[in-house]
Symmetry: C2
Subunit: 431 residues, 2 copies
Amino acid sequence: MIGVATSDRCEVFSGDATDQLLARELFDALHAAAFDGTGITREAYSPHESQALGIIEAKARSLGLTTERDAGANLVITLEGTEPDLPFLACGSHLDSVPQGGNYDGAAGVIAGLAILAGFHAEGFRPRRSLKVLGLRGEESARFGRAYIGSSALLGALHPGELEARDRDGHRLGDCMAGVGADVARIGRGEALLDPARIAGWIELHIEQGPVLVARDLPIGIVTGIRGNLRHRAVECRGEAGHSGAVPRWLRRDAVFASAELVGHLDRHWRTLLERGRDLVVTCGEMGTDPREHAIARIPGTTCFSFEVRSQSREAMETFYDIFRSECAMIGEERGVVFSFDQRMETEPAVLDAAWIARLKAAAESLGLPAEEIPSGAGHDAAVFANAGIPSAMVFVRNQHGSHNPREAMEIGDFLAGIAVMRAAIREALE
Amino acid sequence: MIGVATSDRCEVFSGDATDQLLARELFDALHAAAFDGTGITREAYSPHESQALGIIEAKARSLGLTTERDAGANLVITLEGTEPDLPFLACGSHLDSVPQGGNYDGAAGVIAGLAILAGFHAEGFRPRRSLKVLGLRGEESARFGRAYIGSSALLGALHPGELEARDRDGHRLGDCMAGVGADVARIGRGEALLDPARIAGWIELHIEQGPVLVARDLPIGIVTGIRGNLRHRAVECRGEAGHSGAVPRWLRRDAVFASAELVGHLDRHWRTLLERGRDLVVTCGEMGTDPREHAIARIPGTTCFSFEVRSQSREAMETFYDIFRSECAMIGEERGVVFSFDQRMETEPAVLDAAWIARLKAAAESLGLPAEEIPSGAGHDAAVFANAGIPSAMVFVRNQHGSHNPREAMEIGDFLAGIAVMRAAIREALE
């Protein structure tokens, strides 16, 4: 059933012909429904998102699978097990997109899940526990400023106050969720719509949103964890403005030179920690002198910048954060500037399940596919499942040009490789 | 006549009582005429500037000195020599200010000149060559974007096309100059209003616009030269934007980290050249990521910054500029970013006259005052005179809080010390 590449290094994975037909049909249908002239737009809790759920649901039914909508208005496709009271295994992803996004971010994971259920159903494979595909809503933060709304509401991780969030047109999140059929009364009471103990595991396929698989020429990667982050939106470096010609170096308190020294030191510490095997990325995404007072001939008195460190390890993030603060203090003392910090924001890293990682790697090896581990830098619904105590895993599929843009580009062969690995691992777990 | 401090280090210079009365009276009158509620506003070629010329002129006449307006509508006060056909010696400074500026920037040099002429006149000192005070107009660039208009027009260094410059309200420079009585027809033909060969020397007292004299506890400084500069308004560093969590360090082309490394390297080279005795200041007054595309969770793809190097030595500026360009190339190669540069702008440094510097230092020493040399980082009319081939010199007076703001603060004792040194040096040159 599964074509295996002839060389050690998987160059072309031929995949399953039925999977391929299904994938092409569904990606085409989703594209046709949501292409806005520039990219794909199916925003959280919008009619375009509902349309995507409908397309997948109709196909699932035509393949003989049972479908329903859960209390969060997500799509649920079920292959019922022989012991349906056992906790079920779930796979899938989300069906919304950012405005003018791509066709694969999210949808690929739902289609992969459907392909696996359809294959098992067609061959008459009936596991003990049920296997479900979730087509989740509201993963992207673009519309309401909150990510993972669908999975969070499902698992009781959405604070009732968050229903008051509004989109750019003033629409209230709670109203939009009610509009597509979610039980906002229960969400408003802070109830989990689904008991996490009912879910035996969560397996999510997703395109890689970074360039690592492309750069390393790997069709797929087995995700080890989802990076959390520590952030400041605004760190201010305050020195003293002055005439750029009239103040010598020894009397300067130049905010740009101080900030540059800080970034330079952070870069060196980052490199050192990477060399010692720590998982870490560091970014100052926004930085600038103050346009209200800067000038070419004026020593800059102030800079403001954002700071972000991400890691799969809480300890690595906190270590780097401490180094950051201590560098600010030292450079401040040496250069006569003062760094001040707004509220620190935190997102917990998510540890993915070691047994599932081992199972996915073994499946890849048995299929002649590379079984490389890769961290996830972007957040995913899988982090919500993992942090609810559900054993979770992810498979990344190679993708060019990142995500959240119309240029995202996944090769169908790589996608079929991801499906094949997931299918083999799930079968192994269910048998 | 001149009080000398009792200690080696001049703590209090008592100065000349007549100078002090004159200075207090004129600074008060200038302040009363131009205080706008926040600071001093007497903009180039404005009625407030004309009013300042009138205040000084009236006082000069009341002291028995001859006054006139030259073809550039500047104030000229003359102590006629016994051989008036000889090239004359000139001192003074400018009488305009930036909006909401201070009372001393410019005016101090004109009052100092008047005090010297008045003193010589009162004691009946009649030199061979005439001694003149120029109360210049239009030194500040704040109104028309062009600095040193008055001195440049006088010495034929104002390009006729520059008369077309307009202020923020649309007023044309040429019209404003004509409005106060300047001969714009001659300026428009590119004529020098005054033959530089008629001027034997130019001596200008000015408040220091930097903090060096305050930091070194010196009442005055003898200026060695006026720094020129090499500038780019906008250097762009272009890397590649990306997801801040999903792109590892080895695949990043981060414009902030690249720019920070550049600034860090420039800082080190600057320090090295200072240690080897070169005169140099380096500034990136404006720097920032692109607000249209930056975000906390996005690797910054672009930064834009200004670059300025200033020195009294053309060679030092060019050397540092070459280092800057070579660092951009090396960092670009290492980090996968590209630096691009707008048009380079240049201002020539001005070398002040060695004989006058020696004369001023000897005068300071003879008065028991420190005779420290100091470069001028800011531009001054003296640079226009020096670059027209006229032997020129400057005395700086200690001043707190820089200039171009209402907080500039010159102690009257320091000002009197500056007048005393200038007076002694001019007398020595004229005798």
